[in-house]
Symmetry: C2
Subunit: 365 residues, 2 copies
DNA sequence: CGAGGTGTCTGAATCGATCTAGTAGTAGCC
DNA sequence: GGCTACTACTAGATCGATTCAGACACCTCG
């Protein structure tokens, strides 16, 4: 018998498995088993251990030590772009996170959020993060934080972009969706189409996009969608050099409105604006309203995502619908599979569908 | 010299500090220093180590082991209620998280999100989470996950509720705000006031609140606000038993509308609805509109929070403004201080202010 | 009676780093 | 030469658990 006099709550030392074991005169292994393998000891001893642990203020095995030994932390790293404020303000991002969290919660996994804003320090944070797996959504191809995550050699899933070799990707048929939206406008008779795009590079650029910038965009999703738009328009006899493309530095309503102003002020005025996200499309609706441009009378507007808000916009937005929450769940399911040691059943790209509402119509003559 | 033949990328074994040290013929301490204390070794050796590490695919010291030894993980646990989907859909919660993240990002801390939904398994997750500190927002007093977090004996900060002994709390003057809003209605001449409240207990109850439920609410913030409303109305000569209070099971627009329907259908009809959150107030606006009740003509509506959306509502909402993002930042600052070993400078409750807009007016005669 | 089982519990190795104290080696200085 | 000062690096203890291979007692069955 050693010092520990009676059951007083000693303020001094930290209580560990060892402390508890000594106090009770059993081995560390037994105390560990009391927590992790109830079948390995008598229920009597187990409850004695648990009771004493409670008395001494022992909150259970140290998560860090346990993690080191067993190789699991119970956290999945989530890499988002632009910082949390942006991620939370983008409804499509919220739905993704929600789907992901829902899927992982069942396995007792929490989400460790980290931003990838292009800075070196982000990469440092990622390098130092103790997670079981990484889920990355919509980051540019050359993001340092992504490289840091890849270097950790842990299970990993990417949503949308970037496309990393050997890493399962959950994505949609971007080209198909963009083509369908474009074709819809073409079929209505539009030829003076303008395009509003999300960032092509994370450099804060706002304004008209030239061919070089388009070709060397580091966000492959936007590259693919733009490319599909170009092809579809070309096939309809519209020369791509005559199609103004404005890049919005931020994917939100205000910036979308800003970009739309620029497009609507050009001559000849566009008869249709094809926005590559609903946030931008909603911004375009607002800009049009403020400029007295009727939609779809004077100018049609098409979005992409079918985010919440698209259907209740005025007018309701014609857009390319994609399964937003389901994508998050799909990513979560792959993470679970990978952590369970199963091979990732990389799903095909999820299908999209054009939803026709009231923001598009044939051009006025 | 041992096996490791040349610089080939051995697929087989995991590379650790030790592997690398052996490979280079230096000690583990030196390799560790190459990463953590560049000043402790010659730059020549350091770059040799780093180069070789890159070759062997060593991504830096294992975060878990480092965490065990140094007692830091670089993650702050965030406990939210109702699951992520809800947290992300509530704009006040998003602003809080944004402020918190902003404040912590600088110190290289990530956010580990966990939900406290009242279930035992949540508590297990919390117990097993490797974090440096906990930040809790708006959970009931008897939440098991909270107890689990407290038991960990780590630095901790609470936002709004619950009020835990010895734990710094960032909050606002709830009673003052509620009293101001009530007084405003009273001063306008309202006597038939109805109240719409957020959950008093996390049991999903929806409907009229009786005295017992009000008294034994496990969400102290709502308890306090209701209490202030009661006192202010009593002082104005309105008997509290005549004031219908409807509890909404979820703090969102739809549920707020539901609650408002119930209130507006009662006789005598209220001349004013005091909603204890802006989400509920916005729901009330919608319900009123759908019922053909004009606001503020037939019925005034007051909110609480000044959330985004309050000022652009139709009509713009009179509400109690509180510094939403700043609260998150304040919580983050306290966490940083605690982690730095400084004592928490518990701030006084942050001030609120009544913002008068167009949703309130004197009652029609 | 001995072989085999079962239920409990222990000892010691191990996870992969950090950190303190300390050893060489070199240089400066009187 | 002898002393201090400084740089560059190392050995070994340590963080707090998990886990596997037994040890021991007791029971059962042929």
């Amino acid at each position: 018998m050693e010092s520990s006099r009676e059951g007083c709550l000693a303020v001094s030392e930290r209580v560990t498995l060892l402390t508890l074991a000594r106090d009770l005169g059993v081995s560390r292994a037994t105390v560990s088993n009391a927590y992790n393998r109830p079948d390995q000891l008598s229920t009597a001893l187990r409850s004695r251990i648990l009771a004493r642990a409670e008395q001494l203020g022992f909150a259970g095995p140290d998560p860090m030590a346990r993690g080191l030994r067993s190789g699991r932390t119970g956290a999945v790293g989530v890499l988002i772009d632009q910082g949390l404020s942006y991620a939370f303000s983008d409804p499509t991002a919220v739905l993704y996170l929600d789907g992901l969290a829902t899927e992982l919660q069942g396995d007792g996994l929490g989400l460790l959020l980290h931003a990838g804003t292009g800075s070196r320090t982000d990469a440092e944070l990622v390098r130092a993060a103790a997670v079981d797996a990484w889920v990355i959504r919509s980051l540019p191809e050359d993001e340092p934080a992504v490289e840091a995550a890849v270097a950790q050699q842990r299970p990993m899933v990417v949503l949308d972009q970037p496309d990393l070799p050997g890493v399962p990707l959950v994505g949609i048929d971007d080209a198909g969706g963009a083509a369908a939206a474009t074709r819809h406008l073409v079929d209505l008779g539009h030829r003076a189409v303008s395009v509003l795009t999300m960032p092509l590079r994370p450099d804060g650029y706002q304004g008209l996009v030239d061919a070089a910038r388009e070709r060397y965009a580091t966000y492959p999703v936007m590259r693919n969608r733009l490319c599909a738009v170009e092809q579809t328009l070309s096939a309809a006899g519209v020369d791509w050099v005559d199609v103004p493309v404005v890049e919005c530095a931020v994917n939100d309503l205000d910036t979308g409105a800003l970009g739309a102003y620029e497009l609507l002020h050009r001559t000849p005025a566009p008869t249709a604006i094809l926005a590559l996200s609903d946030q931008l499309a909603l911004g375009a609706l607002r800009a049009a309203q403020e400029m007295g441009v009727t939609v779809p009378g004077t100018c049609s507007v098409v979005g992409f995502d079918d985010a919440p808000g698209a259907s209740t916009a005025v007018p309701p937005l014609t857009t390319v619908a994609q399964p937003l929450r389901e994508r998050g769940q799909a990513a979560g399911a792959i993470v679970r599979a990978l952590l369970a040691g199963e091979p990732a059943s990389t799903p095909a790209r999820l299908p999209v569908s054009l939803v026709l509402r009231d923001s598009t119509a044939p051009p006025q003559r």
